[in-house]
Symmetry: C2
Subunit: 464 residues, 2 copies
């Protein structure tokens, strides 16, 4: 057993509050015996948990679940969406929130991507210049339909990190992540079909499904372990497609345990229901090990794995990809018909960024930044938000989910916050049902600072 | 009356073979009297027609329709598609042809875009470098939903050239031209609707419509004046949407006269049928005057005008746009849901290319190249192809349409040609019906050369 597996399962118990602040952890010696690991491996488990501020050591006494204030904030409950599609799209709200995008003078806590200072701008600019020289037509010609060959090769090589065995030919590049989801929905569904998704869920996926005439069935979702498999089983006969974000989805930041992923993949394959897996946040883990994908357990080619570099390198470049399993031909045709070609120059720049080994270095820094950012944010929430606030424990990704007192209406709060130069993402955005009106998604994409702390303090006041 | 209007109408008579090779044109003096124009204006009419090799002067005798060999080749007839949707998509053929895209060693006469040597690569590379410096986030951040402001402003400013009155806010940028057509089809139709198009027609539009579950009704189309209005009137009650490429469409290269555009716009508005206008070739006129658009005559906001820079500056950049008239809000939402943002860097580069006044210079050169190219190609066709070959007289754009003897099957010819290192676009690609099997589209995007001449000679032999 890997130390990362052990630290992950202890971390999960802490996040789920099975282990509570102040609880004592087993000793290093006991851990060795229980799991049959070496002293060094056991020590790495504790170092890993300490790095995430989940545990703290006391001299001569061992390790304890840390007493940091936020450890005492309760987790949001498992969501309980209606088992019937409601498709009540919060269109006006979403437009309101998106209209604040990039507006100067605001603190963009609604942002869904890392801010510019977290991105490797100087290196990317060099890659762009080199790409204009390297591509025979300086990127002015159409690419071949499957997309940049080097990029597909690098993505295939990286699939080892999540236990995948992708080949270059399994992959089709797309113009951003949403474009990949679009191709997948088009490939495996038709208008009137029902698609199951987590609840709460990325508004873009909800809107995309609605735009294609699909009915959305929202699934009860645990803030730490993701979609509830029993709930999925109950509706399995009612759905035609399933879309999941198993790793660090927005807004919850949950991560499905491997055994859940495996079970869901088998369940859906058994019922002939294609799984669209959005792994756009998979590389942004706070721990030391990259989580597996559902695709890792996909024997039947039933999983269409989508991802992009929008949340890790450059949102505005529009570089995404899909490994569509047995739907490859369909997706390839859809790309030809709907896009012809992706923007060649920026795709080559990202390919080269990966080829030069810059991605891993960059990710290491970005993950450390996001983890520190998360610890600051959650600390500020514990300090400034009302005592009855519940908060998610993301294990990676870019979001914190805050559940306020039932009396709070965050759609109204959005307007008040905006007057105070803060942009937040109200909970109602993340569902097609009348729920989450007392929730907020905060972005970890904005670097924590004195100013952000003050804005969170202000937000806390508006909540009381 | 402008000299360009007069020269256009004479040019049309020559292309339609109302005026035949050797026919004498009216004298300069008569032209002045007939149209109430000055001698200088009348002279410009003849200079313009001579520049297009349509007429030639004989000393002391005046101007005559030129006797060049190709003037004697007959025009293809008005197409006669079935008035019932057939939706018999030539999927395998299209895949075969697209698979040859960019393959080295081939003469790419199937290409639908200008080749690299016709594009302003060095200037674009400079624009790209400057864009990385100019954009505050070096193009890594998402754009605002409507797209690059400068680009929209420049497109609006250029609308004067076709008698348009677009404002920046009327325009939404898209990730290439196909992406604009997609947004428009999504905005104005639903699965099961019927869309009318020219026949023959751009395969991308046919496939896009099919992909969205639309039935395609192909309209009889004249090789010089475009869609037959009477035919459109006959089916007006059967259609929900109309998509036209009024200026230099592919594969025919026809151009609807202004009065036809006006009439079609009024007809469709009267019946509440939205018109999607694809003007992607509008800037590539062989004459001296940019043709108007249907949008020029659109009072009701019923025309959704689409275009891109893929056929003029950089196919691989994916920079397109749409002026959706009264469907603006719908298209804006579709862009948000399906794309989030276009690739910021390349859009900024094109914006700057326009801002710096480089586009007009480039277009002037490109148009001259394409006209010369056309004259060479059509000359080679007249020299090498069988005597019963019919050929279009494009007035701009990137294509020549060749109609061979009924016995020829160009789908089979494609394979034979490919063995001889030539890629052609067989006629069957341009329809969903069983027609045009004896036709070929040749690309003007490949610079004519001794080698191309030899390949056309070879193709001519394969046709006999």
């Amino acid at each position: 057993m890997l130390y990362a597996d052990i630290s992950n399962s202890i971390a999960r118990q802490i996040r789920e509050q099975v282990l509570k602040p102040g609880d004592r952890l087993p000793s290093v010696r006991l851990l060795c015996q229980e799991h049959g690991i070496s002293m060094n491996t056991a020590k790495r488990v504790f170092i890993e948990l300490e790095a995430q501020s989940l545990i703290e050591s006391k001299p001569q006494s061992g390790y304890f679940v840390s007493q940091l204030p936020y450890q005492r904030l309760p987790l949001p409950e498992v969501s309980k969406p209606s088992p019937i599609s409601q498709d009540n799209e919060p269109e006006a709200l979403i437009s309101r929130v998106y209209a604040t995008r990039g507006k100067p003078g605001l603190t963009h806590l609604s942002m869904g991507a890392p801010s510019t200072e977290m991105l490797p701008l100087a290196k990317l600019n060099k890659e762009i210049i080199q790409a204009t020289r390297r591509l025979s037509s300086s990127g002015t010609a159409y690419e071949e339909v499957p997309g940049n060959e080097d990029l597909r090769r690098m993505i295939a090589a990286r699939s080892l990190s999540w236990g995948g065995k992708l080949k270059e030919s399994d992959i089709i590049t797309t113009t951003g992540g949403i474009n990949a989801l679009f191709f997948c929905m088009m490939a495996v569904s038709k208008p009137g079909d029902t698609i199951a998704m987590e609840s709460p869920c990325y508004p873009g996926s909800l809107q995309l499904a609605r735009s294609l005439g699909l009915k959305v069935l929202e699934l009860p979702t645990h803030p730490v372990t993701g979609v509830e498999i029993d709930a999925l089983k109950k509706v399995i006969k009612k759905i035609d497609v399933c879309l999941l974000v198993p790793n660090f989805n927005t807004p919850l930041g949950s991560c499905m345990p491997d055994e859940h992923k495996k079970e869901v993949v088998a369940l859906l394959a058994k019922h002939g229901i294609p799984l669209i897996e959005d792994d756009i946040y998979g590389d942004l883990y706070f721990g030391t090990q990259r989580p597996k994908c559902c695709k890792t357990f996909d024997e039947a080619g039933n999983v269409l794995l989508c991802s992009s570099f929008s949340k890790t390198i450059a949102p505005g470049y529009r570089v995404g990809w899909v490994a569509p399993g047995r739907y490859r031909e369909k997706v390839l045709k859809l790309k030809l018909v709907h896009m012809l070609s992706s923007p060649a120059l920026v795709h080559e720049a990202i390919a080269s960024f990966l080829r030069n080994g810059r991605y891993d270095n960059h990710l290491r820094k970005l993950r450390a930044t996001l983890l520190q950012n998360y610890l600051h944010y959650i600390d500020a929430i514990a300090s400034w938000f009302p005592a009855d606030t519940k908060v998610s424990r993301p294990q990676g990704g870019l979001a914190i989910w805050v559940e306020c007192n039932k009396k709070v209406n965050t759609t109204e709060l959005f307007e008040t916050a905006l007057k105070n130069k803060i942009s937040i993402a109200p909970g109602r955005m993340f569902t097609l049902q009348d729920q989450f009106e007392n929730c907020i998604r905060l972005s970890l994409g904005v670097l924590f600072s004195e100013k952000v702390d003050q804005k969170l303090k202000l937000l806390g006041k508006l909540l009381t």
